[in-house]
């Protein structure tokens, strides 16, 4: 299971760059998918993981965030309509031992929320008692390893208008992440400012 994901990453064409205190790795897969991961150099935490797929009609799609903040450069005139900045936003931000989702701009107290597992769709579901917020999302890391979602691994907390949903990382995930980290460390990275060119 885990091997399939590692193999997939290995088969991709990789570019590595160290910039702003982060190790940035860009993968392009044979089917046109692109993956970009950014690791913090000090803590080794995964700060950003985003995907880009080719559109059905060709052309480049948009980056879709799996982990990390979305870039704030959005313009309502270009997009036509977009969520107001006062709305709840879900951002995934993992720690070493936990998957963690933070939903900002949720002022309601902690007993308003319920987080459950939908086994059929393999998703986590966040519900609110006052019907203000609802979100279904999957946990791609567990899908890749084909591990079960377990209700007893979930914990929630609420502070500073933010709801934090944590899910304990299973043993298998931790092992694989360590293995990948070691692989990445071996990669030759271009430093910021260095351009790999050979003057003739």
């Amino acid at each position: 299971m885990a091997a399939a994901w590692v193999e997939k990453l290995k088969s991709a064409q990789k570019t590595c760059l160290i910039q702003d205190g982060r190790r940035k790795i860009h993968f392009s897969f044979p089917d046109g998918m692109e993956l970009s991961e950014e690791f913090d150099l000090k803590t080794g935490e995964l700060a950003v993981r985003k995907w880009r797929k080719r559109g059905t009609l060709g052309g480049q799609g948009k980056w879709e965030m799996e982990i990390g903040d979305e870039s704030p450069l959005r313009n309502v005139e270009v997009e036509g309509m977009m969520e107001s900045s006062t709305n709840p936003v879900l951002v995934r931000k993992d720690t070493k031992t936990q998957f963690q989702w933070r939903i900002r701009n949720l002022p309601y107290p902690v007993n308003n929320y319920s987080v459950t597992v939908d086994d059929e769709k393999r998703q986590l579901v966040i519900r609110t008692e006052n019907k203000k917020y609802y979100k279904r999302f999957d946990v791609p890391d567990l899908d890749r390893m084909q591990l079960e979602l377990r209700q007893d691994q979930i914990s929630i907390a609420h502070a500073n208008n933010t709801l934090i949903v944590s899910y304990q990382k299973p043993r298998e995930v931790l092992d694989m992440e360590k293995q990948l980290q070691d692989e990445f460390k071996k990669m030759k990275a271009t430093q910021d400012g260095d351009i790999d060119c050979k003057p003739s």
Binding site: G55, T56, L57, G58, G59, Q60, G61, V76, E77, V78, E79, G80, M81, M82, E83, S84, S85, T86, N87, R127, T128, K131, K132, Y133, Y134, K135, R136
Partner: protein, 461 residues
């Protein structure tokens, strides 16, 4: 008092936008029955029965979708309904069949070569029906709020609150979105879906929770349940895109946005080839379907010899749309050469065409058209005035008498009348010359105009 009424009128205008009226806005189809026989007056079309019947047959050909690269020429004097027939065909085909309408002189531009402009319009006329995943927002409108800035000018700001049974979200609206929401008359209690990529809004109906006994509603108001779950969903939809749109998406890195910013410039032929083979691949896999459309070139005599030879070649491709051309020229010079040819089109291209001719309207038909135009422009006219106008239409031209409708209506309004009378027509007839009276006038007073003496001197010298 007067100020307040004026304000009110402004307000009403804002709610029900008055649409501008084009010369062919009254045409809704070809006006044929099921057996392709032309009705005398139907769907805004009057007379020209033979030409309409012919157009109907071509329409069937297009709908079949099997034939590529046929060309039809509509030939006739000015003001005999050539463009009207083309418009009627576009309307009859429906919105799912691409219909591109250009004028012959449109292709001459400094930024693009003639053949590039022609190729682009060819590719705009071929549709591809394909399944695509898009993001849609589906929910019940809780509140829609559009604020105009206090100064009266400048950008409007809008907010739209949508909800499902489980959640609620506030959206900021851009200028285009505000416009289309007003156009669709979306209000609180409506259930709507919005396609995020294209910004297309579809009203599904009214929410059940908003059903009240005494609500004023049309007979076709539909009540639907408030949607469940998340507001934003991914959905597979089948839609038609033109080959040109696919070209644009693939020729630029920033992708879809380029469609809206206009200015695509020239598209490399490698990109086109690549897309052709991609589309062929999709077709074989059953993923996509080709929808041949129609390219209408008005005033085709304005094309030059290079364009005509390009057309000859382009019509032979299996990706060619049905080409409809219209011209009002008789035997005339082909642009870019010294040769004379019928319709100003070289014989080798004429040979590939089916030619449909239109003939001048009869008095009865002119009257009918004028009546339809009066209705379209919201003008009430007495029978006598209409008869006089018809007479003018026969003597001068149909276009001239259609122009007089609006002018006479204004005169009538200025004297606070409700119905346009013969006197109003007389007044505008004396104020505005038609082409033949103007020519007459010029002939009489030629001497008084500028440069006439110069010419005389030149002739004598």
């Amino acid at each position: 008092m007067a100020a307040s009424t004026a304000e009110k009128v402004q307000e009403v205008r804002e709610v029900t936008r008055i649409e501008r009226i084009g010369a062919h806005s009254h045409i809704r189809g070809l006006g044929l029955d099921d057996a392709l026989e032309a009705r005398q007056t139907s769907q805004g079309m009057v007379g020209q029965q033979d030409a309409r019947k012919a157009a109907g047959i071509i329409l069937e050909m297009i709908k079949d979708g099997k034939i590529a690269g046929r060309a039809v020429m509509l030939a006739g004097q000015p003001g005999t309904g050539k463009t009207a027939i083309a418009m009627g065909m576009a309307q009859a085909l429906g919105s799912d069949t691409p219909f591109t309408s250009i004028a012959g002189s449109e292709i001459f531009s400094l930024e693009m070569s003639k053949t590039e402009a022609l190729t682009q319009s060819f590719r705009k006329s071929i549709g591809v029906r394909i399944k695509e995943e898009t993001e849609i927002i589906e929910g019940e409108v809780v509140e829609i709020q559009i604020d105009r800035p206090a100064t009266g000018t400048g950008a409007k700001v809008g907010k739209l609150t949508l909800k499902t049974t489980e959640m609620e979200t506030i959206y900021d609206l851009g200028q285009k979105m505000i416009e289309s929401l007003t156009k669709e008359k979306v209000q609180a209690g409506d259930i709507v879906t919005i396609d995020k990529a294209t910004g297309k809004i579809t009203k599904l109906g009214r929410s059940f929770t908003r059903a009240r006994d005494y609500d004023a509603m049309g007979p076709q108001t539909k009540f639907v349940q408030c949607p469940e779950g998340e507001l934003q969903k991914r959905k597979e939809v089948v839609h038609t895109v033109t080959l040109h749109e696919i070209d644009v998406i693939n020729s630029r890195t920033q992708g879809f946005l380029a469609l809206f910013s206009g200015d695509t410039g020239e598209i490399k032929s490698e990109v086109r080839e690549q897309i052709n083979s991609k589309v062929a691949e999709w077709r074989e896999e059953g993923k996509a379907e080709i929808v041949p459309g129609v390219l209408f070139i008005d005033e085709v005599h304005m094309l030059d010899i290079e364009c005509f030879s390009f057309l000859n070649r382009a019509l032979e491709s299996d990706m060619a749309p049905i080409l409809i051309m219209a011209t009002n020229r008789g035997i005339t010079r082909i642009r870019g050469t010294q040769y004379l040819s019928p319709h100003g089109v070289p014989i080798d291209l004429l040979d590939r065409l089916l030619i449909v001719s239109t003939s001048p309207y009869e008095e009865k038909e002119v009257k009918q058209i004028l009546r339809i135009r009066c209705e379209e422009e919201d003008v009430e006219m007495s029978d006598d005035a209409l008869t006089v106008l018809t007479k003018i239409g026969m003597d001068a031209s149909l276009r001239y008498s259609i122009q007089l409708i609006t002018a006479a209506h204004l005169v009538c309004r200025k004297r606070k009348g409700t119905e346009v009378e013969v006197d109003d027509i007389k007044r505008v007839y004396s104020l505005f010359l038609d082409e033949s009276r103007s020519t007459q006038f010029l002939k009489e007073y030629q001497q008084e105009f500028m440069f006439s003496e110069v010419q005389d001197q030149m002739e004598t010298s």
